[in-house]
C-alpha cells in the first residue's frame, strides 16, 4: 500500500488509470455485446456467410467474380455447393496458381474455419452438394473394403490406377495419387467432380457406395500388405522395367568391374 500511495503523484499515474478503464470497458463490451448482436442478427449462419463473402472478395473474386458469377478466368460458382469449396480450398488447389484444366494440389493456406465461411458463402449462391459429415464418409460395415475394391476398379481404377497410385491423362494432365488424401476430400471429389474428374452423384453412386470406396482407398494406402516387398510405386511394368535396367543391370556391371579390378596375383604390380 505504501508503494502504491507513493506513486500516486507520479506524472504517468493518470495515464495508467485511463488505460485500466479502457481495458475494463472493452472487456465488458466483448463479453456482452456479441451475444446481443447475434440475437439481433438473424442467425450465426448469415454471419458466417457475410464473413465468407469478405474472404471471397479477397481470395477468390479476381477469377470467380465479386459474387461468384464467374469470369473469363474462372467458372461461375453458382450451384457448386459447399462440398466443392471444402475440397478445392481444403486441398490447396484453390486459389489456383494459374487457371487451367489441371490445378495441382499445394499447401493449404486457409484454416478450416475460414474454409467453412467461404463454403457457406458459395453455398448461399445456389443449391449444390453439401460438405459431408464424418459419418457420411465413414463406412461401418465389415465388408465395405471388398465391396469398395470392386466399385473402385469399375469407376476409379482406369484413371487413378488399380491401387490409387494415380496416372496420366491427355496433354500433360494427370489423375493424382490418392495415397495421402483425406477421407473427406475423397468423398467430396466423388460428389463434385473437381477439375477434369467426372462426378459420381448420389443418383448414380449412392452415399453408401462412396463410403465403401473411401474405405477401400484408405485400406490400400495404409494397411494393405504388399505381397512382393518393394512396390516401386505400384505403377506397373514401367517402373519395374526401369528399376531392373538401371539398378539391376547397374549392380551387375559394378560387380563385374569390381571383380575384374581385383587381381589375384601373388605380387601386386
Amino acid at each position: 500500500m505504501k508503494k502504491l500511495s507513493a506513486r500516486r503523484r507520479h506524472p504517468l499515474a493518470a495515464l495508467v488509470v485511463l488505460l485500466f478503464a479502457l481495458v475494463a470497458i472493452g472487456g465488458l463490451y466483448a463479453a456482452f455485446a456479441p451475444a446481443e448482436a447475434a440475437q439481433a442478427d438473424s442467425s450465426a449462419q448469415s454471419l458466417k456467410i457475410d464473413e465468407g463473402k469478405k474472404l471471397f472478395a479477397v481470395g477468390c473474386s479476381s477469377c470467380h467474380g465479386l459474387n461468384g458469377e464467374g469470369s473469363s478466368d474462372g467458372p461461375s460458382l453458382v450451384g457448386v455447393g459447399s462440398a466443392a469449396v471444402d475440397f478445392q480450398v481444403g486441398t490447396g488447389r484453390m486459389p489456383a496458381q494459374q487457371p487451367g484444366a489441371q490445378v495441382p494440389r499445394k499447401k493449404n493456406i486457409y484454416s478450416q474455419n475460414d474454409i467453412d465461411k467461404l463454403a457457406a458463402f458459395v453455398a448461399s449462391l445456389g443449391p449444390g452438394p453439401v460438405t459431408p459429415t464424418k459419418d457420411q464418409y465413414t463406412a461401418t460395415e465389415t465388408d465395405a473394403i471388398s465391396k469398395g475394391g470392386q466399385l473402385f476398379r469399375t469407376n476409379c481404377g482406369q484413371c487413378h490406377n488399380f491401387e490409387g497410385a494415380g496416372g496420366a491423362l491427355t496433354q500433360g494432365k494427370f489423375a493424382p495419387s490418392l495415397e495421402n488424401v483425406d477421407e473427406k476430400h475423397i468423398y467430396e471429389a466423388m460428389q463434385t467432380g473437381p477439375q477434369n474428374m467426372p462426378s459420381f452423384p448420389d443418383s448414380t453412386m449412392p452415399e453408401k457406395q462412396k463410403q465403401e470406396i473411401v474405405a477401400f482407398v484408405r485400406y490400400q494406402a495404409n494397411e494393405a500388405p504388399n505381397p512382393g516387398g518393394l512396390s516401386l510405386g505400384s505403377l506397373g511394368p514401367v517402373t519395374e522395367g526401369l528399376f531392373g535396367w538401371i539398378f539391376g543391370l547397374g549392380a551387375l556391371i559394378a560387380i563385374a568391374i569390381w571383380v575384374a579390378a581385383h587381381t589375384t596375383k601373388a605380387k601386386k604390380s
Binding site: 469407376n155 482406369q158 462426378s199 443418383s203 505381397p227 601373388a266
Partner: protein, 364 residues
Amino acid sequence: MSHDMSDDKLPQAHDASDAHGDVAVTDNPFADPGLPAHQPRRTDIDERAAKRAERQVSLMFLVSMLATVGFIASYVAIDPDKIVYIFPLGHISALNFALGMTLGVALFCIGAGAVHWARTLMSDVELPAERHPIEADDEVRADVIEQFKTGAAESGFGRRKMIRNTLIGSMALVPLSGVVLLRDLGPLPEKKLDVTAWNEATPAAPIRLVNMNTDEPLKAEDVAVGSLTFAKPGPSASRPAGLQESDEDFQQAIAKDALMLIRIQPDDIKDANSKALGFEGVLAYSKICTHVGCPISLYEQQTHHALCPCHQSTFDLSDGARVIFGPAGHPLPQLKITTDASGYLIATQGFNAPVGPSFWERSA
C-alpha cells in the same frame, strides 16, 4: 602334394624382350613390348592357399544346395496367405520373401563360386591369339570372279531375260507363303462384333440401361452434367434377368455391351448426329476402344476427351467420339437412347457401328 611357398618354386620371370629378340630402340621407338611377364597367383605357388580357395568354392556350392532345399521347403511349408512384417520392406508375403531369398542365394552362390574358382584355381596362363587380315589374297579373288563370270555366261543368265525375271519373281513371292500362314491366327471375328445384346432392342421391346454400380435401371435425371456412369443391358427376351455378373458368359457379354454414360450441355455437343442419338445431352458410348479393344473410360469432364490407356487413342465425346489422337481407326460406337413412360433410359436399337477393334469384314 606337399608344396611350400618358397622362392625357388617361383617360376622364372622371363624378360619381355626375349620373346622378340633384341630390339634396337633407336630404330623404332614404338617397338612391340611383347607380353608382360606372367605373374603367378598366390594359389599357384602356395598349396595351402589353393586348398583354402578350393574349400571356399565348395562351400559356396554347398550353400547354394542348402538354399535350393530351403526353397523347396518354404514352398511346401509356408502358407501362401501369411503376411509378415520385415523391416525395410513392410508387410509382405512370407512365402514370396522366402522363395525370393532362397532362390537368390542359390543362384548367387553358384555364380560367385564359379567366379572365385576361375580366378583362383583355373589356369590363368596368357595365350596370345594372332590376328590376320580376313580377305583372301588378290590371286584367289581374281580366280573366283573369273569363275563367277564364266558360270554366268554359261547359264545365259544375262542373255535369257525371261528366265532371269521369272526367277526373281518366284523368289520374291516365296515369302508370301509365310504371310498366308498367319491366317491360322484366326478365326476371323466375322459378324460377332456387329451383334451385341443391344441389337435385340426394338421400339416395341426396348432394353433398359442398368447402372453397373447399383444394378438398378437408370433414369435420365440421374445422370448429372459432368458425371460418368457405367451401364449394362437390362432385361431382354433372351436374358429375362438382365446381364448379371453371375452369368456364365458375363465376361464375353460385357466385353461388347459395356456402356459409358455421360451428360453434356446440349449446346456443347458439336456433332448433330450424335446429339440426336442422345437424350437431352445424355450420351451413351461403347466403352470398348476401336483400336484393339481395351476398355476405355478415362473421361475428362471439362474437355470431354476420353483416353484409351493402351495406346493413347483419344476420342472427343462432344463431337461424336471422333478420334483426335492415336491409332484408333473409328469413332466410338454410340447407342441411340431415349426414355420410356416412367422416365427410365432405354435403347430401341443396337449400336450405330460395330463395337471394338477394326477387322476385315467390319461393315462400318
